[in-house]
């Protein structure tokens, strides 16, 4: 056994990694629990990749067979419904943990120098995760997903000059058709995974480079220098968290499995009560709030502009809050609270 280990180490230099792992420290303080969110995202993403590949064994991204193939997975393939359910629930959990991760970084101000690039790559990862959710939602090709995709791909149309072009790029034409399914499928299965792995690589490299950030308050306390080695102490704790999360995921997947609507009919009117996935609900509700014309401008354009501005603000947050002075921190903190409450409030409103 030792000989094999020595052989691998001579060629790959794995001992360097384990030395780094042992040297790397995870600070111990009252906010250490948030350090677990990052790896939990990785857990869910790994589950998505595995279940996604398995689903892709039987899924057909064509207008004729998309819905039928998903129905086949749910009824004929042994335990197909569990795999699909896990895929669906893991998507929800992944985006939920991404949002928790973002909030924890925002509230502990871990985006400050020198970690601005880490934050920005993180926001891009959030966008990629949402894109995963959006593209994946169309693939079962039932009434709900068709309607949601029609609405979602229609939003860019209100942008002047490039709007129609963007919508056409997303849809593979003017309307949502079979070409849209192919497009969304290849983006979901190939383009986005490549992108997310590339951005994730940069994100993780930056995290290792700068080390774990410690919140200001915790950094001044008596446990200032308390830390855990990453390997094996923190990894073991992370594994325990992963096991529990996995158990909860599988339980939810078995008891609350999603169903499948009938195949989408391109000619039928939109069904009543359409709504996107929960992570888009606040945007959905925001769009509903805006009147059709504001100050002579197209209401939808203003809504898109506002949401775009919001995204830019989130992306460039470290550049706005670039001083450790306490005063500036408070304003940003209230802004983050307000945004968070806004999204929660609108999400709940859209469900009523």
């Amino acid at each position: 056994m030792n000989k094999i280990r020595a052989w691998i180490n001579d060629r790959l230099g794995v001992a360097e990694l384990s030395k780094f792992g042992m040297k790397k420290d995870v600070p111990l303080h009252s906010h250490t629990i948030w350090y677990y969110t990052g790896s939990s995202i990785l857990l869910f993403m790994g589950i998505q990749v595995v279940t996604g590949v398995m689903l892709a064994f039987y899924y057909n991204p064509t207008i004729k067979d998309a819905n039928a193939s998903v129905a086949r997975i749910m009824t004929e393939i042994p335990l197909g419904w569990i795999i699909r359910s896990i895929h669906s629930w893991s998507a929800t959990c992944m985006i939920a943990v991404v949002i928790i991760h973002l909030l924890s970084i925002a509230f502990t101000k871990a985006y400050r120098a020198p970690r601005e690039a880490t934050w920005m790559t993180g926001v891009l990862l959030l966008a990629a995760s949402l894109a995963f959710g959006f593209t994946g939602y169309l693939l079962p090709w039932d009434d709900l997903s068709l309607a949601a995709t029609k609405v979602g791909t229609d939003i860019p149309k209100s942008i002047p000059v490039v709007g129609a072009w963007v919508t056409s790029l997303l849809r593979g034409g003017e309307d949502v058709t079979g070409d849209t399914i192919s497009r969304f499928f290849i983006v979901h299965v190939c383009v986005l995974p490549l992108a997310i792995f590339a951005i994730l690589g940069i994100h993780l490299f930056l995290v290792q480079r700068h080390g774990m950030s410690v919140p200001l308050k915790a950094g001044r306390g008596p446990e200032k220098n308390d830390a855990l080695p990453f390997w094996p102490n923190f990894i073991l704790r992370e594994s325990a968290v992963w096991l529990i999360l996995f158990g909860v995921l599988v339980t939810a997947a078995i008891f609350l499995a999603p169903s499948l609507g009938p195949a989408a009919n391109l000619m039928a009117p939109a069904p009543a009560g359409i709504k996107p996935e929960w992570y888009f609900l606040f945007m959905f509700q925001t769009l509903k709030l805006f009147p059709s014309r504001i100050l002579g401008l197209n209401g939808e354009l203003v809504a898109v502009a506002v949401m775009g501005a919001g995204f830019l603000l989130v992306l460039l947050l470290p550049l706005l809050d670039d001083r450790p002075a306490e005063r500036k921190g408070r304003v940003i903190r209230y802004a983050v609270y307000a945004t968070f409450l806004y999204t929660i409030a609108l999400t709940i409103w859209s469900l009523l």
């Binding site: 040297k23 080695p229 102490n233 529990i244 599988v250 078995i254």
Partner: protein, 109 residues
């Protein structure tokens, strides 16, 4: 520990895991795969929605047994992890490995 003893331990553990594998697949999944509930999708399709197959009680029970088995395994693993975490923390507190950063790690596995 001599090589012979190590290989004995390794073989024992491998046998244990193989048993777990065989038992889990034999006990739960060996019988012919559950017949697809042919009538259910037809009925559901008429209603317009396909729900995950409720399946015959026998198959439903299998899923619940699998879930219980998963949780049991998770529980056992959590217990073992607790022991391992306690050991790792204890080792860290003695400062044993911090002192040997320069040289190679003594017998750590």
């Amino acid at each position: 520990m001599t090589t012979r003893r190590r290989s004995l331990v390794g073989t024992g553990l491998l046998a244990l895991t193989l048993c777990a594998l065989v038992l889990s697949s034999a006990g739960l999944f060996s019988q012919e795969p559950p017949k697809p509930p042919a009538e259910k999708p037809a009925v559901e399709a008429a209603k317009g929605e396909t729900h995950p197959p409720p399946m015959a009680p026998r198959d439903q029970n299998r899923v619940y047994v699998f879930l219980a088995w998963t949780w049991l395994t998770i529980g056992v693993l959590l217990y073992i992890l607790r022991l391992k975490i306690r050991e790792a923390d204890r080792v860290y507190r003695t400062g044993l490995f911090r002192a040997t950063e320069a040289g190679k790690e003594p017998q750590k596995r």
